[in-house]
């Protein structure tokens, strides 16, 4: 099979997929969960419960508010203790609903059996309602509400549904583990999305370093019409939305436009699995797979099924992490993840991994002068010239940033990773993106 890859830049990273073959373990229920009411791009959901309320697993806690928003459900059974503000991984104080947990008790209608059901409802509108009610958002990291992504404007048409099973970030194995354990569910999820998009062309893209997942899913797709597998090269950032579209279809999303403008919808495998559970099992999105990994001297690596709102330190305890020696705790992968300000920050719908980095490796190397090697431009998967963005910003010259397409930066981190002078190029590009967007 011809392995596909994108045409611009990219890196061959050391993968560190330590937990690639670890089975998914249930992380269990912590004594308290802290469920943020904003776990997605857009407006925070509106709280509909109050202190003292008893909730079950799957009880709606906060309702989507505004055009871009998502429902938030309880991930545990218990009693609401407080509605307070706690520090999220990015350091902002955000409203959370604190629940003291009791024994698991599910809302009526949620099917907790693992039996595979492939009797897809006939009515697309009904399916979209189920997805909306379940509060599903993009689980690859961005957290864009899924129902909006799958409602196609009247003047646009879809040709491809691309299921992103690449997981190109080092250390992360959550999507890989999910594909190994729930391959058929993912394929049925793809069928469901095919149905609401009105196409018969779902492509599950998996990169070559997951041969088992490729084999399993390829076997299953033989039984389902309209779902196929494409194998991609292991290259970072293969799983970037725009890069993946380029791989699979050869198309490029025009600068400033969205994937739908070239007839593509991209969904992460985690999201597709959540769609399956929402539609076939009536199960809201209240748990997800999280990889714990990183410095092997500090932690064991594994994949866990984690309730949303579980504090990070609860999960780190399960993985026997030496918490006092952590230099950085990453929510997400090492290339694009957020370094958390707190060990107690809660896991949310978009947290694919907790990566532990030792104290020594947490320090940035000393920066020296640019030697004009051009490596940053060579590896940029968007074809940008990070050195030019940085040098203009250093001179407070913001005028050329728009022409340099600073706004097209996807923040993948390739430039800063490769820079021999250790210039924090991603910092500059993020600032450049902000300045360029101001000029519009």
């Amino acid at each position: 099979m011809c392995k596909k890859t994108f045409s611009f830049g990219g890196l061959h990273l050391n993968k560190h997929k330590i937990s690639a073959l670890s089975p998914i373990q249930d992380a269990g229920v912590p004594p308290f969960v802290y469920i943020p009411i904003k776990q997605h791009i857009g407006s925070p959901a509106q709280i509909i419960v109050k202190q003292g309320d008893k909730v079950k697993i799957g009880t709606l806690l906060a309702q989507a508010y505004g055009t871009i928003s998502a429902n938030i459900h309880s991930s545990v059974a218990g009693e609401i203790k407080k509605i307070e503000e706690v520090q999220s991984e990015s350091g902002y104080f955000e409203q959370v609903i604190t629940i003291q947990t009791t024994a698991d008790d599910y809302e009526a209608g949620i099917d907790t059996s693992t039996q595979i059901s492939n009797d897809i409802p006939q009515n697309s509108a009904e399916i979209i309602e189920l997805i909306k009610a379940a509060g599903i958002v993009g689980m690859g990291g961005a957290g864009f509400p899924t129902p909006i992504k799958t409602s196609i404007p009247a003047n646009k048409s879809v040709q491809y549904l691309i299921i992103n099973g690449i997981e190109c970030e080092p250390y992360l194995t959550a999507d890989g583990a999910l594909m190994l354990e729930k391959p058929e569910e993912i394929v049925i999820g793809a069928k469901i999305l095919n149905k609401i998009l009105g196409i018969q062309n779902a492509i599950i893209a998996i990169d070559e370093n997951k041969p088992l997942a490729i084999e399993k899913i390829t076997q299953i797709t033989k039984r389902y019409v309209g779902v196929n597998v494409t194998v991609c090269k292991s290259k970072y950032p293969q799983g970037g939305e725009r890069q993946l579209i380029n791989d699979v279809t050869g198309r490029e999303v025009p600068s400033g436009k969205l994937p739908i403008d070239v007839g593509c919808v991209v969904q992460n495998v985690g999201t597709v699995f959540a769609v399956y559970e929402a539609v076939m099992k009536h199960k809201p999105l209240y748990e997800r797979i999280v990889t714990v990994s990183g410095d092997t001297n500090l932690t064991t690596a594994g994949n866990y099924r984690v309730r949303v709102g579980t504090p990070a330190d609860y999960l780190l305890n399960l993985a026997h992490t030496k918490q006092s020696q952590i230099g950085k705790l990453l929510f997400g992968g090492p290339m694009m993840g957020i370094s958390s300000v707190s060990l107690q920050a809660p896991i949310n719908k978009t947290t694919g991994g907790l990566i532990v980095i030792g104290t020594q490796d947490s320090l940035r190397a000393e920066e020296s002068g640019c030697i004009r090697c051009g490596k940053c431009a060579e590896v940029c998967p968007m074809g940008l010239m990070p050195f030019a963005i940085a040098s203009n910003l250093r001179r407070n010259n913001t005028a050329p940033l728009k022409a340099l397409h600073a706004a097209d930066c996807i923040g993948c981190g390739c430039c800063a990773y490769i820079c021999p002078a250790k210039i924090p190029l991603v910092d500059y590009c993020k600032l450049g993106k902000y300045e360029a967007n101001k000029q519009k």
């Binding site: 694009m336 958390s340 947490s362 020296s368 002068g369 030697i371 074809g383 924090p424």
Partner: protein, 332 residues
């Protein structure tokens, strides 16, 4: 206390110093050949040049600019080796010191140090010496294989010098040219370095080994050396077919003089070459054309240094007009 920073949280294990160290390793085969061929004098030239370059950079950062000592990034050491490679082994020590001063003091530090210089420092030093001391710069000791302590200077001509002579004299006297032709080294001699010339340029093989090492370690890409050499080779070959003049014999021209040294180690200097692939190709083709023009149509037998320095001056302009194509935008 957790540390926080913006992503990415990992870095490639390459630094400015490690890249420069790789270039020095790539230069080692040619250094060894220079000592095998020119003995202790080559060692003297190398040591003087490297030590002087490092010392001058250190003194300037320490006492004049009062900034961080930058010699540990090893770029000054590369300039030292490259300057030495561009000198004959008989070069007087004090002249080498002047060359090193021009290279580091004027061409590099006066512009603001590594990354900010417009011209390749080693080439600027060489050209300064070439213009100031033409006699010493064109005296070529004969290679004396493995006779390490030999300091008697028996001079010979460079391959390009002989070719130029043939070209000048051929119309006047065919006989004279036939005499000179026998002096030309064969391909094997040019590959291993058994020919007169600057200490670092004589062995094509040693330079090509260095090129392979740098490509394998991804220090440079193939674009500049390939387009530079290919442009020069094609132009020379076309002229040779059309005129049947031995002066243009393309393989001899390729293997002799500073072409390989220049194309592999000087034109590829990060600081003084364009940033994008497209720009690098334009730059390299320009170097190839200029080398061809200077070698065959000027009074100098060799044109690599001038060609690269002239193209260095065009780099800011080339950079301006050759931005990379951005994903999702139309090809221009």
């Amino acid at each position: 206390m957790l540390k926080i920073s913006s992503s990415p949280h990992i870095n490639a294990p390459i630094t400015t110093q490690s890249l420069m160290r790789d270039v020095l390793i790539a230069l080692t085969p040619a250094m060894i050949v220079s000592m095998l061929m020119f003995g202790i004098n080559a060692l003297r030239v190398l040591l003087t040049s490297v030590a002087a370059c490092l010392a001058i950079e250190y003194l300037i950062t320490r006492y004049l600019l009062k900034t961080k000592n930058t010699t540990c990034d090893l770029s000054a050491a590369i300039t030292g080796v490259l300057l030495a490679f561009n000198l004959p082994s008989s070069m007087p020590t004090w002249m080498i010191l002047i060359g090193a001063f021009v290279a580091i003091g004027i061409a590099k530090m006066a512009f603001g140090g590594l990354g900010k210089n417009i011209f390749n420092p080693a080439l600027a030093g060489r050209v300064f010496l070439f213009i100031s001391f033409p006699a010493q710069m064109t005296q070529w000791p004969k290679p004396d294989f493995l006779n390490f302590l030999n300091t008697d200077i028996v001079t010979s001509a460079t391959t390009l010098g002989i070719l130029k002579q043939i070209d000048v004299s051929s119309s006047a006297s065919i006989k004279a040219s036939q005499v000179s032709l026998t002096e030309l080294p064969n391909y094997w001699q040019m590959l291993i370095g058994d020919t007169g010339g600057c200490i670092g340029e004589v062995s094509a093989l040693a330079l090509l080994i260095g090129l392979c090492y740098m490509l394998l370690r991804r220090v440079i890409t193939w674009h500049i050396p390939f387009y530079y050499i290919a442009t020069f080779f094609i132009l020379t070959a076309i002229t040779w077919f059309n005129t049947d003049n031995v002066h243009f014999e393309p393989i001899t021209n390729l293997l002799s003089g500073g072409l390989l040294l220049g194309a592999i180690f000087m034109a590829t200097d990060y600081v003084t070459s364009p940033m994008t692939k497209q720009g690098q190709i334009i730059f390299a083709v320009g170097c190839g054309i200029l080398t061809y023009v200077i070698r065959f149509y000027s009074s100098y037998p060799e044109g690599v240094s001038f060609a690269i320095l002239i193209m260095n001056a065009f780099v800011p302009l080339i950079d301006k007009f050759t931005p990379q194509r951005v994903y999702g935008t139309k090809r221009k």
